[in-house]
Subunit: 307 residues, 2 copies
């Protein structure tokens, strides 16, 4: 069992209809590792500036997350500022300051190179490829990306996809990548581009897994209190890969369980600002909600006399 994440560690300023937080912990690698560390050992590769309050990550180290690959370099930490309206599905980015992240060059130490599973957070696909070039023999590679790279670094992304086992994107991204408005057709097109499986994250509407010819759908857990959706996608990925690493499996049944685990942990993330809910989250609570997911989607077959 070993899981590597390469991505951002950030300071976020977020406003939602339910409140406002300034310079709180954020970033894809941070959210991912907070989720995945409930299930397995996680290695982080990323970069922060001199201004980063390192004590903020103590709770991750306490959960066994290895931060040796988190470089600290001169300059300021990556900062993101965003706002959500009542439609919590869509963030409006108010400001992005790449800062030290702009010249980030992921370096994997000896232990990180041996990782069995790798999550490539949403960074330049050329950097994502450089991570894979350093990795020795991963059993599974999962990659996120975004509109900026799909249009601006398309060739690099297309070169990456054949090395990706699970492409994990939202519906707008898969549509843009494939140039196809139907999400199912777009996911199959992404598979033809090389990704072995595609997970389409649909925010409060759940997630669709397209693996081979089969599809699997996991709803988002219906929540009465959604406070801040930031990080839902990255904790989805953390739950997904954390479970695959824990199970040491990637057969179709495991991919389904992993999709539900992703939805489950993401549903906790959004209940509080920043990583606040994840700090206190325990695996027993996660398991309880995973089981409740079965109740949420279970139905009996039709009796024989119908049909």
């Amino acid at each position: 069992m070993s899981l590597l994440v390469v991505g951002s560690v950030a300071l976020d300023s977020v406003e939602t209809p339910f409140g406002k937080r300034d310079n709180v912990l954020g970033g894809s690698a941070t959210y991912f590792s907070a989720a995945a560390s409930l299930l397995t050992k996680v290695d982080v590769v990323g970069v922060v500036g001199e201004d980063f309050p390192h004590g903020q990550l103590d709770f991750l180290e306490a959960r066994g997350v290895r931060l040796d690959g988190l470089e600290r370099v001169p300059g300021r930490t990556f900062r993101w500022k965003g706002r959500y309206g009542f439609d919590l599905n869509a963030a409006e980015t108010l400001d992005t300051q790449l800062n030290v992240f702009e010249s980030f060059q992921p370096k994997l130490d000896e232990q990180a190179r041996k990782a069995e599973r790798i999550f490539l957070g949403n960074i330049d696909p050329e950097l994502q490829m450089r991570v894979l070039e350093q990795a020795e023999r991963p059993k599974l590679v999962c990659a996120d990306t975004m509109n900026f790279w799909i249009s601006g670094k398309r060739q690099a992304l297309l070169k990456l996809l054949p090395r990706v086992d699970v492409l994990m994107v939202n519906d707008g991204e898969v549509r843009q990548l494939a140039g196809e408005s139907n999400v199912l057709k777009a996911a199959h097109a992404a598979k033809r581009m090389g990704a072995k499986a595609v997970v389409v994250k649909r925010g409060e509407y759940g997630a669709l897994l397209v693996d081979g010819e089969e599809s699997f759908f996991a709803p988002a857990f219906p929540l009465a209190d959604v406070i801040d959706p930031t990080g839902a996608g990255d904790t989805f990925a953390g739950g997904f890969l954390g479970l695959l690493d824990r199970l040491d499996a990637s057969d179709p049944a495991a991919l389904r369980q992993a999709t539900v685990m992703g939805s489950t942990i993401a549903s906790f993330t959004v209940e509080q600002f920043s990583l606040d809910r994840l700090r206190s989250l325990e695996l027993s609570q996660v398991r309880k909600r995973f089981d409740a997911f079965r109740g949420l989607t279970h139905f009996e077959p039709l009796p024989d006399h119908v049909g």
Copy 2:
């Protein structure tokens, strides 16, 4: 087994990214009965004008739909004209001509009064109430409504809700009714207004059933070809009530099966324009897709060592 629908029979002109149809068969009672008649006997109460091409309904009569309650009166039939963009979830209404529907007064004959289950299509809540006043002893009443009535006839709607077993609306409608942006909270608020259960239709994202404290989620069947979403909601209702009537049940397990049946039949509706797909649809095909829904949402429990 007996199921009554009261609603519109219309001529629609529809444009989607995949084509255009003028003056084709439409209307809530039409879509509903085409779906429900695959499962049970349906009685229609509605009104058309002298211009209505009655032969269009022959396929419904062939399936045992009783049209004795479909009045034919002087004037023109209700017409709706709409357009869908690439986001097939949202129709833009270009023109609505109520015509004979404007002075529609639903009249139930002796047989219709004895209906065990009633679907109140999206009409003035005062008319919906008049239907219930004529009904003798329905086992189950399901009602649709829309933004126009929620704001314009709120008192009449609030008076109706305590007589409704299943309120069936889309997410925008339940949010508006409850004045609450969270869909789950809004559904519970609608229950406190009197509806015993609430089904929230979410277009391509599926449907949520809130019944007691429990929730159930049925995804929309992922389709590669969605041609025209018109009528999806009414065929959802037709599948839902058609199955409950066929099973003569409304326990929680039956409500879940009915929700999946609604999603199943709606998924056929959108594959062609107007009622074209429903004309040729057979129950054996419906059953096959219902079973495939189980494959779409099934996942194994977590092994004991996780959690």
